[in-house]
């Protein structure tokens, strides 16, 4: 059970009472659909869609009971997004029918989808950060008014009710930008489910609701999802995070290449069996333990000495050639700023960074790049230059390579880009002149990896390197990290995904209150130890935390 999510915030939330327990046990395959005992909130029969020659979705059958959380999982490009867009009326299907709450849904119309009670919360929540919760709830439409003027008192009362229905406990007068990411998601859910917005919601589709949430807040969101189902609303929960699916969903459907390969109750599944369903032939996950750790006398490539910046307080550590070091810690611990501060993306207040013996001036990324640092930001929005092609993005950090007076040789750039596409297995292969933003998330991330790997950096600073990418891509990127370390570089990986750190890091630094609280090495690199060290419960000194030898004893009770 060590790969369970290290969260226990939801353990005290009661199971929704009106959910029919899935009737059959796992392992019986597709024959029996889960949730058959309950009334269906959503029934899908033979829904399919092709785009040109691409069969995005093969005929799909699906059934979700009232008050049920049905997870939808699949690699990037497996058809999840297409399915959601068919439900929302964004695309019109080639064939098939959809029943919502027993009523036939007119397909291909967003208005009909809405009227039938389908609600959608996308990864980009679409909230206005500078406005209050109240205004975000009703700005679209539906302010209660008296003589054309917003009736503030009634609006606040209504907002409180709408928030309570979604299980969010918030003052509607607060400004959205001051809320935590999980609370913001809660506001988006409350907005989607609000009463004043035409009839009763039947079905709530959550598209990757936790992709941008820090680890600590995932539990809060899962509790929210459960409280939504208590009102009888069915939830389709789309996520890449296996452990979340196992924790929150009653049943799960797995899509692969546009085809539903399985629809099962979650009760009989574990992490490994779900991964096997997802990846088909099986993904060989990267494992740092099969790599030889660097010798203790390997040269130090990165030395950070008493680095102070923002939340960071005198952080010091060293990374040797061939080593991969992980950085763990909750939101606010300094984990999110440490890599940017080393690189120069964040101003440096004090301290020194040395790369291969040479000190690096702080506060400016160009100094960092020149010194041999490479930095992958946690948010692809601050990494992808929209409007530029995959090729232009790939070569951006070092343009002089293909300079042949009097111009940059596009031919040489294209040929290099093709090489990286095949090395990193980027799809579509023919897309080198397409805008980078048109690629799927996983493929964008691969190209951004290539952008830095082509510089042969001495130190790779990777911030949430596999956020929002599918399992196969994740494994591929992990192997690239280890390969780069083997080839004579070193890497520092900051991640909110504890499993990722354990998979690729020789050594994990756990941060708390802007300092490195604990260093975990070898067998001590467990989720339990990381959770304990990052929260600072009990054992305050490193020795105690690191000596906890039973990873299964902690973790979640839910």
């Amino acid at each position: 059970m060590s790969d369970h999510f290290p969260m226990s915030a939801v353990s005290d939330v009661a199971e929704p009472g009106n959910v029919a327990e899935p009737g059959n046990v796992a392992g019986q395959g597709n024959a029996a659909e889960p949730g058959e005992a309950g009334e269906a909130a959503l029934e899908v029969h033979g829904l399919c869609k092709t785009f040109g020659a691409t069969r995005a979705l093969l005929p799909l059958d699906l059934r979700v009971g009232r008050g049920e959380v049905h997870a939808l999982v699949g690699e990037n490009g497996s058809g999840k997004s297409t399915f959601i867009k068919l439900l929302s009326g964004y695309h019109k299907p080639d064939a098939g029918e959809v029943l919502v709450g027993g009523h036939q849904l007119a397909l291909g119309s967003a208005a009909a989808s809405h009227a039938a009670g389908c609600r959608f919360v996308h990864q980009d929540l679409g909230l206005i950060a500078s406005e209050t919760v109240l205004d975000n709830l009703y700005a679209g439409n539906g302010y209660p008014t008296a003589f054309g003027t917003v009736n503030g008192r009634v609006a606040r009362k209504l907002a409180a009710e709408d928030l309570a229905r979604a299980g969010v406990d918030l003052d509607p007068r607060r400004v959205v930008g001051t809320l935590s990411p999980a609370e913001q998601t809660g506001v988006a859910i409350a907005r989607a489910l609000r009463r004043s917005d035409g009839g009763g919601p039947q079905l709530l589709v959550l598209d990757e609701p936790t992709a941008r949430l820090p680890d600590r807040e995932v539990g809060v969101l899962l509790a929210l999802v459960r409280s939504v189902t208590k009102a009888g609303v069915a939830v389709i929960y789309v996520s890449h995070r296996i452990d979340e699916v196992l924790e929150v969903a009653e049943s799960v459907s797995v899509l692969r290449d546009g085809r539903k390969v399985a629809s099962r109750p979650v009760a009989g599944l574990d992490h490994a069996s779900l991964v096997a369903l997802l990846a088909g032939d099986g993904v060989e996950e990267a494992d740092v333990s099969t790599h030889v750790p660097p010798p203790p006398d390997a040269p130090v490539l990165l030395a950070v000495d008493k680095l102070t910046s923002g939340r960071l307080r005198e952080v010091s550590f060293e990374v040797r050639q061939g080593e991969v070091v992980g950085i763990a810690g909750i939101t606010g611990s300094g984990r999110e700023t440490v890599l940017a501060a080393i690189f120069g993306g964040e101003p440096r207040e004090a301290g020194q960074v040395t790369v291969a013996g040479q000190p690096v001036r702080g506060g400016r990324p160009d100094y960092g790049v020149a010194a041999g640092l490479a930095y992958l930001p946690p948010d692809r929005r601050s990494a992808v230059v929209s409007g530029q092609t995959a090729r232009e993005n790939l070569v951006l950090a070092k343009l002089r390579v293909h300079w042949r007076w009097p111009k940059i040789s596009r031919r040489a750039e294209r040929s290099e880009t093709r090489t990286w596409f095949s090395r990193l297995n980027v799809r579509p292969v023919t897309g080198i002149e397409q805008p980078l933003s048109s690629f799927s998330g996983g493929n964008q991330q691969k190209i951004l990896f290539g952008k830095w790997l082509r510089l042969d950096p001495k130190v790779l600073l990777l911030d949430e390197p596999t956020q929002g990418v599918d399992i196969a891509t994740k494994a591929a990127l992990h192997k690239e990290i280890l390969a780069a370390a083997d080839a004579g570089a070193c890497a520092v990986v900051s991640s909110s995904d504890a499993g990722e750190l354990i998979a690729v890091c020789h050594r994990i630094l756990v941060m708390r209150d802007g300092r490195i609280a604990v260093t975990l090495i070898g067998k001590d690199r467990t989720m339990a130890n990381m959770t304990r060290a990052s929260l600072g419960t009990g054992a305050e000194n490193a020795g105690n935390a690191a000596s906890a030898d039973n990873p299964a004893s902690a973790g979640n009770a839910a």
Partner: protein, 336 residues
Amino acid sequence: MSRLGLDRFSALYLGAAFIIMFGIWTPHLFLTMSTVDTIASSQAIGAMLGIAVIVPLATGVFDLSIGAVVNLTAVIAAVLMQQHNWNMWAAIAVAVAAGIIIGVVNGFIVVRLRVSAFIATLGTATIIGAVQTIVANQTQPLQPNSTLWQNLTQYEVGGFQVIVFYLLAIALFFWWLLDHTPMGRQLYAVGGNPEAARLSGINVAKWTWVSLIISATLSGVAGVLYCSLSGPSLTFGSALLLPAYAAAFLGSTQLRPGRFNIWGTIIAVYVLATGIQGLQYVTGVQWLGDMFNGVALVVAVAFAALSPGLKSRRKRAAEADGGAAQEKKTPEPVAG
């Protein structure tokens, strides 16, 4: 549609339609070498300003002071030569230097003081207007009476006034700079996503500054040439500001849709001018230029927003799993 290039080359088709239409309508007036020469030279200044605004636009900032710079440098050149009997080259040097200084000041306000470029250049444009009045001593200066000065732009080469060739040289240079050098690639990257550019080791502050210096310098050159072509004017530059942006935005729907580009802009300038000239021959009214340019600016920006390339890009971005980066147009630099 894409086979014929109707999307990327729509302005060329439109231009051809204009020529055919007015050629049939008023062949004796329209289909003459003098019309070609008139359009080519009268629009050369406008096209230069189109290029001048493209550089900061590619970098993601607006420069609204270009019209004022044209006015000021034209007046400086004229006053120095006419009232102070300066040597022509010295006068030109001082006028262009004034343009460069304005660019440096604009850059300072935008990069160091972190004022939005839109506001900053609107402010400097107004200040420049005041300085121009001081320099001109509140009277319209006279055109310097020198053949050399007039020949600077009006000398005939192969049936065209020489200013057309200056434009060609400037366009070639900036096409090379923007499309074929690391600097150009970096400018476009800053305009596309300043944060991503900064985190790729690109000095966003420097390129923002440089782009504003380039636009002001080129506007200064255009002002001097304008003075030589038609004489100093206290107001002409301001009238050129809007057409320059109309051409830049219309140009961004051409050749490489979604990207500000030199040749698209040049095409846009001349297609608009052909239409205006033809309509003027036919109708004889004077308000056509303003009407045409205004409509073209609105239509071009609407087109740029709705162009098939951009639309499908947005759609694909929305479809891509895992939060593809959205179009993020922040015209403000992040000082490094």
